[in-house]
Subunit: 540 residues, 2 copies
């Protein structure tokens, strides 16, 4: 078996059906192996888009892959892979490279920066495991290491394959069993402690984050919450990891910026059980969150932290499974949330909030997946009724929306994918709609047009460098072989959405939105502004 | 004086008038300083484009600058800055960053990857100097260090400015004189050796590269060549660093792939004086170049290498200046080149070669600047009569063309900028035309449309993953506020070009080209194919 064939077999074994990327001369043998593997090859328009697409696919399917060339390819994908690292998305980057034979220290090859190791060094900074294959005898072991680390930690991996290694025959190296950090004794000890804390508390709460989705724990979490009668909040990047129409769901917690009910529930709790969540500046509402660490149990892929001490030999999945079978008692009954009042929607100007309200009546949450780029649309989407939701709520790179929508439509073909994207983010990767056309898929893209970096304007006021050119997005959609419509009102939006749902090609709705931000962003911007002003007059 | 103000003052002192970038919340104080500095702020559509634009500006004006935010901004510009490193372009990246105060090891901030140093570590791999300011008292020294290193080595520099440092008052730190590697004794020794080699040779030749342009040595090189009567060849990335209509110019040397006259002149020479050139896989025509190192003197920003020994304390500029005043004798007279025969142009299909032939009659070389993206158009452009030419001939990243054209039109407003770009490269950064519209400038963009990665197809044959969607580029140009025309013939091209030259906005010519590559690419592809086939059946 050749190294390249073995490599792509590993993706198939783990349920991957589509691989993203852009070919280049150092990656030609890899592309040949890829084409022969039976995996679908999705060629993107630009490497940043390829990285976002593979990241989104990984978030949905549990693993994603992207194949690029050396230098101009690999180094053009650093930002999306950094995002995958920060948000724990298991995507593996496969990069071509110059032949191992004939490498001399001072050989200057195209796409080479400083040394042959430059790209590997860069990827070491932004992945959980990174290898450069140099010998077909040990290639299998190196490939296994990256796949195992990626699956276990949900951090991206990197495999560099020199042009003369891809077609080389695999060596028969002994397969080492992956190291495990899971110690049954440590699990027993932490379980005793957590159950005691739960049983001793009167107002426990579950704070669920993205790792619930990454490790496929949604059903177990629902069962656990049902059995113990616990209220649940989620983080913004964990939106929809727990069903938002479940009576146990309270809201998205973002310190004093998000849901007020969530804030009261978390900050009055005497036992906050964080499951796969991490506290960031965004999720804490720019540090307005007030959670005493002594009252927190936090479990993640890396460790379980109870109060101020850490168990490094226990992981999230084991804790959730054992809690489900434990003797944790049902605490003082949680009554469940009353149904949330309906907003007075369908009147007033078209805003990000209005679009979310409209989608709440137009979309069937079980038959759709919503993908959001960053910016105001992401914060407005906090109130979206969604079962399937993707948004880079922590790292917050613009440009995720359109490539992620394309990948999502491949990953869950049975659902209708709807993407929310600001006009600033659309400038970056919107042309990836071309890939939707090439694939014959028909996601709906909603571009919120306000011709400015409105989120920055909300922080710093009007500046000429926040202005964006007013693109004709519908003309662009048509130039790429899709369709679209321009809307300025709520009724216009509803009408366009009906067209979009029956469109045979991708459909872009250019929604000119009024200059009024979602309430969450308005509060976030106020916090950032306060923080910046505090920093501004700094002198030493 | 505040740190941010001092920083932008350094650009102005060195003749920079325009700074590129995209704002973000960590960069807001930097943008405020920038706006107050009087420098023009050019906001690009996407960070990869911002990087290419700043790189192109640096190649033309001797220094370029780009300001981005942390993480999502800085890490999205690694590839263009890597290209600037590989091709020695003096561009300085200024990145915002989180406040120094309040940083804790485990703080999770948006746009942060692994640690606060991740981005700095990445930039250390792709720059000549990289600093993260952490203290306003030493900020001035750190800034000076990066500017001085960048100007001296022509490698990119990186300055990270935390949000609470930008507005901090500068400390009064003593300015250290920059270290110099220039030793007069070493210069005397190398001069004796080089003059002896020149005087002892019967067929010397000058091989001029990009550093002639980077260090502003064009006039001195012309004078030197004139005085000594030497033939001159250039590298492809050094195209037009020496006037191509000068009788001393022989051609572009690319081993056995480029000009035959250049090959004979170099490979029969007994003294090859390489000035600011470097040998790469591309410039050696995939290693078909046959140059015996014992016959080479190579001077660059880093060192002077004579045969097999190296002088590290002598730099290119000093060598050129001293050669000009030296007693090197005029060798056996070089007769000069006969005028090159005219191609039988103006008939036949529209191809990349045909477009170059047409431009040779349509463009006034002294009043225009041609920018080429990579791919077949770059190799076809070898035969372009150009005085001002930009193309990333070594690192070869796609996507350079359109952003570089916008930057070039700002850097040399008195010249008409014409860009050559393939439809694959246009997919990556073509939307940067929006920035041309915002600036009210009117470069001409020629998109060579063949709906495939044709350069790869020439190597590996037809593959489904080489196909590109056929965009309607003219509709896109109009959607961005510009104009355009579609052409399929040589006469159509001439007509469209006349419209383009009088257009008030940018003008895009979509030229559907016949599937026939330039002769240089055809030969390059053959060499790559041979090399790949030799590598393919590798086994151990």
């Amino acid at each position: 078996m050749r190294v390249g064939d073995y490599l792509f077999e590993q993706f198939k074994l783990r349920g991957v059906g589509d691989i993203f990327g852009i070919p280049g001369d150092f990656a030609l043998p890899l592309y040949q192996s890829l084409a022969e593997s039976g995996l679908r090859v999705v060629v993107n328009t630009h490497e940043p888009a390829a990285g976002f697409a593979a990241d989104a696919y990984a978030r949905i399917r549990g693993l994603g892959g992207v194949v690029v060339t050396f230098g101009a390819g690999g180094l053009n994908m650093v930002n999306p892979i950094a995002e995958a690292y920060a948000e724990k998305s298991p995507v593996i980057v496969v990069s071509g490279a110059p032949e191992i034979r004939g490498r001399k220290i001072d050989t200057l090859l195209h796409h080479k920066v400083r040394t042959f190791e430059t790209q590997l060094n860069v990827y070491r900074e932004i992945t959980g495991s990174a290898v450069a294959l140099s010998d077909s005898a040990t290639a299998g072991e190196a490939i296994d290491h990256v796949f195992e680390t990626t699956m276990r930690t949900k951090r991206p991996g990197y495999i560099e394959v020199p042009r003369d290694i891809a077609f080389a025959e695999m060596g028969q190296s002994p397969r080492r069993a992956p190291r495990s950090r899971r110690d049954p004794a440590a699990l027993r000890e932490v379980m005793r402690e957590v159950v005691a804390r739960l049983n001793g508390s009167s107002h426990p709460v579950v704070y669920a984050g993205v790792e619930i989705q990454r490790f496929g724990l949604r059903k177990k979490l629902i069962a656990l919450v049902e059995r113990l009668g616990l209220p649940v909040v989620t983080s913004i990047e964990g939106k929809a990891v727990f069903p938002e129409d479940d009576p146990h769901f309270v809201g998205i917690y973002m310190g004093h910026i998000g849901s007020e009910a969530a804030m009261r529930t978390v900050e009055n709790s005497d036992c906050v059980l964080m499951l796969g969540a991490f506290l960031t500046d965004v999720s804490t509402g720019i540090y307005t969150a007030k959670v005493d660490r002594s009252r927190v149990v936090s479990a993640s892929a890396e460790a379980v932290v109870v109060g101020y001490h850490t168990y490094t030999d226990v992981v999230l999945t084991d804790l959730v499974e054992h809690l489900l079978r434990s003797r944790a008692a049902r605490p003082r009954s949680f009554a469940g949330q009353p149904p949330r009042p309906q907003a007075s929607w369908r009147v007033g100007a078209l805003t990000s909030t209005a679009i979310i309200e409209e989608l709440n009546t137009l979309l069937d949450p079980s038959r759709s997946m919503v993908v959001s780029d960053v910016g105001d649309c992401l914060y407005a989407a906090i109130d979206l009724k969604a079962e399937n939701f993707l948004g880079p709520g922590y790292y917050n790179s613009m440009g995720f929306g359109v490539p992620a929508a394309v990948a999502a439509q491949l990953a869950v073909p049975e659902k209708k994918v709807v993407a929310l994207v600001g006009d600033g983010a659309f400038q970056m990767t919107g042309m990836e709609l071309s890939t939707a056309k090439a694939l014959g898929i028909s996601p709906i893209i909603i571009v919120l047009k306000n011709s400015r970096y409105a989120t920055l304007e909300a922080i710093a006021g009007k500046k000429p460098y926040f202005d964006l050119e007013p693109w004709d997005h519908v003309a662009i959609a048509r130039a790429l072989g899709g369709d679209g419509a321009r809307v300025h009102t709520r009724s216009g939006f509803r009408e366009a959405f009906a067209h979009a749902q029956s469109s045979q090609t991708f459909f872009l709705i250019e929604a000119t939105v009024a200059p009024r931000m979602s309430s969450v962003w308005a509060r976030l911007a106020q916090e950032v502004r306060t923080m910046s002003e505090r920093a501004a007059p700094s002198r030493r």
